[in-house]
Symmetry: C2
Subunit: 275 residues, 2 copies
Amino acid sequence: MRLWRLERGEIAERLEGPGILACGDRAEALASVMDGRTADRVVLCGMAGAREGLREAPYVPCPVSVSQWRARMTEALGCPGLSVWIAAGLSCRDASGRPDVMRGEETQVFGAMSLDPGLANGTHVVLLPGTHSKWVWLDDGLIVRFRTCMTGELFALLGQSSLLAAGARGANEDQGFAAGLARASEGAAPSAALFEARAAQLVDGRTVDWARGFVSGLLIGAEIAAINPQEPVLAIGDPALVARYGAALARCGVQMRAMDGEACAIAGLRLLDDD
Amino acid sequence: MRLWRLERGEIAERLEGPGILACGDRAEALASVMDGRTADRVVLCGMAGAREGLREAPYVPCPVSVSQWRARMTEALGCPGLSVWIAAGLSCRDASGRPDVMRGEETQVFGAMSLDPGLANGTHVVLLPGTHSKWVWLDDGLIVRFRTCMTGELFALLGQSSLLAAGARGANEDQGFAAGLARASEGAAPSAALFEARAAQLVDGRTVDWARGFVSGLLIGAEIAAINPQEPVLAIGDPALVARYGAALARCGVQMRAMDGEACAIAGLRLLDDD
């Protein structure tokens, strides 16, 4: 849980607590992070609106405009002394009817549109890398569709796997990352190429850090190959992770620019605090 | 650790203990499973020969004949009262020089060849599904190359992930498996399709069991798509898992027959106990 206390549009304070799904009583957890502070309004996005969150907020089906999204925000009652509102999530279906969902990233994307009005016209591809990377397609200010890749979570799970279980240390993670990207760009499927990270340690003297880089490059490269973006990408998120995606996209000849994830989140939440 | 006590070629007893890498003193762990029994010889394959095992046994580079493999078995000293020998593992490199390794499955493959002399002539594809699935290509009795897919380990890791974290139960895992196979056969990359297992629970009312089947079908389907076997496949391993691969291969028009994993392991170990 991350809260920004805004005064006259400026960040006056940053508050942090455990993820809302990790808390027992969600309302108490919010009150505990607020710690007696008052606010005209508390606006939340992300897992606070999950079925198991503070209060379930709907998924609005794509295509979605900012006003359609705002109209579906949900008041969370049961937070004494606080007026709490939760952003709606989004859902979409691909051409075969297969579903996808997001909670939280839509707030950053609408926030990015409010910060950069150029995004409100024409088509744009937005990438929000992370545990569940989201690729979002914009058309004339609408979020028309999106796709989730669980690259970050796969990478975290593989960190506990036999691939990276033990091995010599060494500062060549970047070399491994480049090797993994190269492997993905040849069309290698992760399930058939991941084990190379282990075999290279056993018979080619690679370090476990090289192997970690290889796994990261292979997964990010496979994600980009699956999405196959054809136009410049706007990336929103953690700068170190965004830089990795930038390197991977550059390899495919795709340009990337970045916007600050916190700034986009705050701008998106302010859209819900306007009326 | 699994030991078969053979008397005049028949299984007289099955002994089981913890995996050798899970034990403190490896020699003591073996003695504890033997529990005072005597033997002319103890022959081991698999992780007993890993660097952290009982004693490191070499990786013999492909192509490898059964006699070349036998010649590289290694005596593990330091097991009082026991004559202990460990099978060599195999290594190979693909056309680009990328390495792969195996320990244990080679024993089953050479065992299969001794049980079915038809395997000693012509070309054959052998699949040993499991934590680390091995695809092994035979040519006139030689193991010429192989490929590891970590499908089983990925499936186990994903069992702890957000995809299958919670959800309604329901007996439709087989439907999910078929849906996952279908998805893979369209060329869907797991990183971009795995999250459908979660989204389908959230917005289409699928059960967590359907989702588990979907993940299994997607991963097995992606493995087969990556390997793209063009001839009938011989599968050696756990019958339930072999049946899943059989269903997936049938979808691709590839025939499969099966041999019993235990029988192949014992036949392979006996090849090391002959002299």
